[in-house]
Subunit: 246 residues, 2 copies
């Protein structure tokens, strides 16, 4: 059972580090995953004394997570919670789920995605993966609004790219329609900002938009599982705007 | 926090049901996931009495999981553990991870996959997703041996399909080589059996091989996340052969 305890240590060290740096929502998920690994470890122990030691640790981490959750709720009420995540060049292990999956919950009915680069095949796949995550995490989502630019912006007139982009997104729209979710697609030619706004008042701003993963060939490790691909350097800002919209 | 407790109830009811039916390795993961959800729920409770009630439940489930693990170890030692999983037609929520991810661990150095149908693009994607899972779960895997048939079997002579099959699998081979994992690809024309043999002595037999998911178009929900796709009806048999190979 060495690997459970090693993984638990890794996760909990990271939880404490994120906690100290004020990245509480991330820290909470690391505490939770760490405790899960400790639970696996405790199952493998036969000595009652050893078991009790680990259970005391579990208790400590759960208590800390509860304190953190209380602080977070307070900050959210005051509308001034803000966290920043830096993704390093070539960093691996990143997924949309890990980055911001914890903000996609059953309170989300509408998602507004503004991202100028949902153009090429791999960018349409990114948006597909985002929608798949949204469907899994947001049981009550009814509407996804995408605002992007046409693949054939004035300076690069390329009808084929635009036709493919529209075909891909319409296919996704049809697939979502069958699940009773409306995907509205709108195009603008003057778009620079990138943001994802959830109707539970969380706002996710990724410097590069959804296009944060390095390219890999089609039948290579990491093609379908994004956590195995290296990332491009970028910064993610997440904040809650509860007090702003009242 | 209604959803955590609802999810916990769902998971734990399933854990107990699987436990009673003797599907212990699956039951263990449901107990674990259920306890994780109870931990999330307990964090959201402010009343100390309510917290204690849930913690008592957590304790009960952990104890049961420990008993189960002991029984499982004993059965494995005797070499007669065998479980059967039936996947219904159109069932959703199935992934390779959920089906048999719990058997892929750090003790696996070699994986032998015998599957006559790693031919078409979607079947090569299936095998890619299997390899991605293996890499994530088996930290010490060094070798994956694939035995399949050529896409142009004598009765369907189609050179193009065969060329594409070889190209796809070679691309995967090259990608694995960069991670210091050898993928050996061998072809047979007299292959009927389907099985995955792990060097930690678990054997996984899926009636249909890896090709258990229904087709969805390329930019549709479920194309990259297999848990969102319906399945074809099939039976999975998993057994341990510790005593056989001694």
């Amino acid at each position: 059972m060495a690997s459970s305890i090693e993984l638990a240590q890794f996760l909990l060290i990271r939880a404490v580090e994120l906690d100290e740096r004020g990245r509480w929502t991330e820290s909470l998920t690391f505490y939770q995953d760490g405790v899960t690994e400790l639970l696996k470890h405790v199952r493998g122990l036969s000595n009652k004394g050893d078991q009790q030691k680990i259970r005391d640790k579990i208790e400590t981490y759960i208590n800390r997570a509860e304190v953190l959750k209380g602080k977070l709720d307070e900050k959210k009420k005051m509308g001034n919670y803000h966290e920043q995540i830096e993704i390093a060049n070539n960093e691996k292990g990143v997924t949309y789920e890990k980055l911001f999956g914890r903000f996609l919950d059953e309170n989300v009915e509408q998602i507004d995605v503004t991202d100028p680069y949902i153009h090429n095949k791999h960018q349409c796949y990114n948006f597909l993966q985002f929608c798949e995550l949204a469907i899994k995490n947001c049981k009550n989502v009814k509407r996804i609004n995408l605002l992007t630019t046409y693949a054939d912006r004035p300076q690069h007139s390329n009808k084929t790219a635009r036709v493919k982009q529209e075909e891909n997104l319409k296919q996704l729209q049809e697939s979502l329609r069958k699940m009773k979710i409306t995907l509205n697609i709108n195009y603008s030619n003057t778009l620079h900002d990138r943001e994802i706004v959830l109707s539970n008042d969380w706002v996710i701003k990724i410097g590069r938009g959804l296009d944060i993963f390095c390219h890999v060939p089609e039948f290579s490790i990491g093609f379908t599982d994004l956590s195995l691909r290296p990332c491009k350097e970028t910064v993610v800002n997440i904040f809650h705007r509860a007090s702003l919209i009242k």
